[in-house]
Symmetry: C2
């Protein structure tokens, strides 16, 4: 359909937002709107400036015949800070404390707007890495994994604790949970992951890192590589961390069940985000 | 920040897309851009026309002091048809057949772009109902539930087959699986659902409907109401369906394990979508 500039700007903005990390040839837009490439270029400059000013992300232009424009979702560092602050605040509510010192986070992980923001933060900090797939373990990490994968334009694979008939043949490993020291099993559908894939691991919570370490071992079975590790909450005071390089948004530094106190700090997200 | 019309259109489009089913007062935008309300109104008219023309959804204007503008995600019926066709095509691939006549759908449910489209379809068909929360059962329905909830701007709650310490106190029921006739348990965190809530149930697959029927019974324990039921795939040839009113995108009409044939038809989505 033929559209004027104002209509094109609205439609192109919607299109780019819905196709992150995809190279869109300029001819696609010039045919879509029956407009000259020079007009499309001008439109894209306006979108690029607005996106960068507002911290939505960047538009990267790839020149040449095989070129085009790519939207890379991002976030201003100030906005990321405000989001981490608000998550910390919500998580610190004393009524979250469960028997045994566990934290009730189900409502936070059930809020799509928080999940999307957390996903955007991980997608922006891992934007420059080569990532073919996002991996998580059932159940609580699933929404975060999809939010990240959505912004990176890659599929999600889900590791389970038991195999299901609808998964077909599976690969399973035994691993030792870092905190409880119990032997557990995790399972991944054989056909869900190609050999040599670059995998971003996302999860909601990391104590000693046993579960994530299990996922890393599982990846070895598939001859796949760890492209990065991101967790929403890490806990402090772990004797021996099984995982070295990871990015966390929030760090749980203290839980006082009797005094009903939950202490939280920023995770190491900003160390990574500030790196040039 | 002060923005010209072109920049405002880009930023407002992004803002509205990220705040579906939220009433945004016009003063929010006029303060955000330091622009007159009359200019904002003109901008919104352009966005509304483009969204409606392109099948992105509608912008609804609520007049008066407490008024504003609301983005209701939608989809053209032709696009919905094309999506259902492409899902049917992908699902019909013979290598999806697993022993026992089960279908491997993990890759389809692992593709965020498909999941988002399916979510948008359910969100548009249920757009006019009063919905406070989207409910699903772990694990496969989770991404679909979040996609729908995202477009409806409501939280997600997840029913589990076993209770976990991080959920706090729970309500559990026993139910009979419609196809296997086995007694099973499902569990929901007590504090995850308020009394009187209107709940949209979303799942990936429905045979006789035992699981969904179980969720309906669980809702009764919470004095909550079923606002609607949506499933990606329903199967035909079920003796007695336990659930009456639901919307399906695809119907599995035949599986021939020996001949490696999978037969699929459209679900009842269009009957509902075409209703005025």
């Amino acid at each position: 359909m033929k559209l004027r500039r104002s209509g094109r700007l609205v439609d192109m903005t919607n299109y780019m937002l819905n196709h992150p990390h995809s190279l869109v040839p300029l001819t696609y837009f010039s045919e879509r709107y029956q407009s000259a490439k020079s007009s499309i270029s001008e439109d894209l400059t306006i979108i690029k400036q607005t996106f960068e000013q507002q911290g939505v992300g960047s538009l990267q232009t790839v020149p040449g015949a095989a070129g085009g424009v790519k939207f890379v979702p991002g976030m201003h560092i100030e906005e990321a800070g405000a989001i981490i602050d608000s998550i910390k605040k919500r998580m610190a509510a004393p009524d979250r404390l469960l028997p045994g010192g566990y934290l009730y986070l189900t409502d936070i992980l059930g809020d799509p707007s928080i999940v999307n923001k957390v996903g955007r933060m991980f997608a922006s900090v891992f934007a420059e890495r080569k990532i073919d797939v996002v991996m998580t373990v059932a159940t609580k990490g699933i929404p975060l994994a999809y939010a990240v994968a959505n912004d990176l334009n890659v599929p999600v694979i889900i590791v389970r604790k038991d195999s299901k008939v609808t998964e077909g043949s599976t690969v399973s490993i035994n691993y030792v949970s870092g905190s409880s020291k119990r032997i557990q099993t995790m399972v991944l559908a054989k056909r869900s992951l190609k050999e040599g894939s670059n995998v971003l691991i996302i999860d909601d919570f990391m104590k000693a890192g046993g579960t994530i370490n299990g996922m890393v071992s599982l990846l070895e079975e598939f001859q796949a590589k760890v492209a990065g590790i991101g967790v929403l909450v890490e806990t402090k005071g772990v004797e021996e961390r099984l995982v070295d390089e990871y990015i966390s948004l929030v760090k749980l530094t203290g839980v006082d069940v009797k005094g009903k106190q939950i202490e939280l700090q920023e995770g190491n997200f900003f160390d990574a985000a500030k790196r040039p």
